[in-house]
């Protein structure tokens, strides 16, 4: 196969990838898009093996198939609630591959045609260290994110005073080392660049947790793209550059969407871990003697049955309790009674973008009934019951009324406008942001305490009884 033909095939792959992403504009096209993406990948891999001087074909193919079998196994077994950690884990592999590829390019540059009479090309050295550094941060950062989402590591572990300044210094040292590496071409300096970027990834992600996770997962998604592009520049491969740019901008847009949904800047999410400490003080002051009305599943079932429209607001609590299937069952019963049941999804509900949508889709809920914040927010005023399941901050009116609140300015779901608000929560504890929700104490609010799945199963029991 001629090199021209190989390059043209890479272009075909790149276009396939663009169509695969474009397909995600609607669920129907998305399935076809995924197949186009798979086709593009097969083309890319097949023509790469036709490159001149491509030896060890069989063993490389066996390695790829071995990895593939494991990949397919994981993808088929994983629970939908575990999707955030799966994505984080997969990001770390892209980072690892980037680091390894840049090492290969440094050890044997002749394989990639980036060597001149005077040693490695200047530009190649820059691109190589860039690919390795971004790859390193992606690898270690995603590993930490995986460990946190998986629950192996505590959400807020390893925080020390001046951590952010330390990271800043580390970043400056990293850049300086990169410059020295480009001048000296020393293997030792390259190792240091990689080690420092790994350390930086760990320190950046360590203090972040909880509801900030969607931003971090999207950000690492973006990094994995930039790392691929960096390697693309190193080995002069347009397909890697194009794909890296697509993925990089995708992750960047997702991070932006998530940040906007929390009314925070990306800088604030990454470096704002200290703000959480301060808000605890506000909390204790505002705590006055207020009483929340506690309800029972029986009352809730009665209320639901006598309503004509219900909006369910799921949050991370739904995922934790794995209650999506029970919710589906309850929805069917209510719908059979002629009640209009819909779902309202806040952009940052859950631990990754679109987390709630996937869980509801898994439990067979029609995606036309699952609406985004802007689509449904005006309808709360016309709704009998807003049932909030394991969500808190995204419904807190303090975001609109209290300029001193840490979440002030964040777009929220206006559940307060519904005639009745039912909260299913494990306890009275404040949400992730550490702020109390005044909604709990309103006259039209009823609290149901307990595990979301158990509470809903109780409600179903009473719905069936009457």
């Amino acid at each position: 196969m001629s090199l021209d033909l190989i390059q043209l095939s890479y272009l075909v792959s790149a276009i396939c990838f663009i169509f695969a992403l474009k397909g995600l504009s609607s669920p129907k096209e998305a399935r076809i898009g995924n197949f186009i993406g798979i086709f593009g990948m097969i083309v890319a891999l097949a023509v790469t093996m036709q490159l001149p001087n491509f030896a060890h074909k069989t063993s490389i193919l066996i390695t790829a198939i071995g990895g593939g079998i494991i990949g397919i196994f994981i993808a088929r077994k994983i629970a939908m609630t575990a999707m955030p950690q799966l994505v984080a884990g997969f990001h770390s592999f892209v980072g690892l591959a980037a680091v390894l590829a840049s090492y290969s390019a440094l050890i044997a540059p002749e394989n990639f045609g980036i060597v001149t009479d005077e040693g490695l090309k200047f530009s190649a050295l820059i691109e190589m260290s860039l690919g390795a550094a971004i790859g390193g941060i992606t690898f270690s950062g995603s590993s930490i994110a995986w460990a946190k989402l998986q629950g192996v590591m505590k959400s807020n572990s390893l925080k020390f005073a001046g951590q952010h300044y330390f990271c800043l210094v580390l970043g400056i040292v990293l850049v300086t080392l990169t410059i020295f590496f480009v001048r000296e071409q020393s293997f030792l300096l390259f190792n240091l660049v990689v080690i420092l970027s790994l350390l930086l990834g760990v320190l950046l992600i360590m203090p972040i947790g909880g509801a900030d996770m969607p931003v971090i997962v999207s950000m690492l998604n973006s990094y994995s793209g930039w790392a691929a592009a960096g390697i693309g520049f190193t080995i002069h491969n347009n397909l890697l550059i194009i794909t890296g740019a697509l993925v990089g901008s995708s992750g960047a847009i997702l991070s932006y969407v998530m940040c906007k949904a929390m009314h925070r800047s990306l800088f604030n999410v990454i470096f704002g871990a200290f703000a959480a400490v301060n808000s605890d003080i506000n909390n204790s002051i505002s705590k006055t003697e207020k009483i929340a009305k506690i309800s029972s599943p029986e009352d809730a079932a009665h209320m639901l049955k006598n309503s004509s429209s219900v909006i369910l607001v799921p949050g991370y609590g739904m995922a934790v309790a794995q209650s999506q299937h029970a919710i589906r069952e309850m929805t069917s019963i209510l719908e059979a009674e002629g009640i209009n049941v819909r779902f309202a999804i806040h952009p940052v509900a859950g631990r990754m973008p679109g987390h709630m949508n996937v869980l509801l889709a898994e439990s067979n809920i029609d995606y036309d009934k699952v609406l985004e914040l802007e689509e449904i927010n005006h309808d709360f005023a016309k709704t009998d019951i807003a049932l909030v399941i394991g969500a808190n901050d995204v419904t807190n009116p303090a975001a609109k009324n209290d300029p001193h609140s840490p979440i002030y300015g964040m777009p929220i779901l206006d559940v307060e406008h519904a005639r009745h608000v039912l909260f299913i929560k494990r306890s009275m504890a404040a949400g992730y942001a550490g702020i109390e929700n005044e909604l709990f104490y309103r006259d039209n609010t009823l609290m149901l305490f307990g595990d979301a799945k158990k509470v809903i199963e109780e409600i179903i029991k009473f719905l069936n009884e009457n």
Partner: protein, 131 residues
């Protein structure tokens, strides 16, 4: 015999012609090398492709419905593992050394990602159905 001076003359001309031809070829060669030196660094072309792809990504991703943001992440995960091409080239060189071994390891992890990413995306997308 009187043709001999003519032949000699022609032979002389031939020699001088060929000399100038060699000279011209040399010039051509030098000119060519100067052209290569003056040629645009390939990184400019790559940067162009990169930035244009960023724009394509920007417009395509904004069209993605928020309901499919999780499948978006898993599919971008799968396609960013295109980095496997770099690892495959590293693993494929004939004189086997450390570079190959690193290549093999990277091929393994990247293919976990490619297959896993596409399969899990398919699994999620198949759940998004209209009732």
């Amino acid at each position: 015999m009187n043709q001999l001076p003519v032949i000699i003359k022609q032979a002389q001309r031939l020699t001088s012609d060929s000399d100038s031809l060699v000279q011209n070829l040399k010039d051509l060669l030098i000119n060519n090398t100067t052209v290569t030196v003056n040629e645009v660094n390939p990184i400019i072309g790559e940067l162009t492709i990169f930035l244009l792809a960023c724009f394509v990504g920007y417009y395509v991703i904004w069209k993605v419905t928020p309901a499919l943001h999780t499948p978006l992440m898993s599919i971008t995960n799968a396609i960013s593992s295109i980095i496997i091409i770099g690892s495959m080239i590293a693993a494929s060189s004939i004189n086997f050394n450390l570079s190959n071994i690193l290549g093999y390891i990277a091929v393994f992890f990247a293919s976990v990602n490619i297959f896993g990413g596409f399969v899990v995306t398919q699994r999620m997308l198949s759940m998004f159905k209209k009732k």
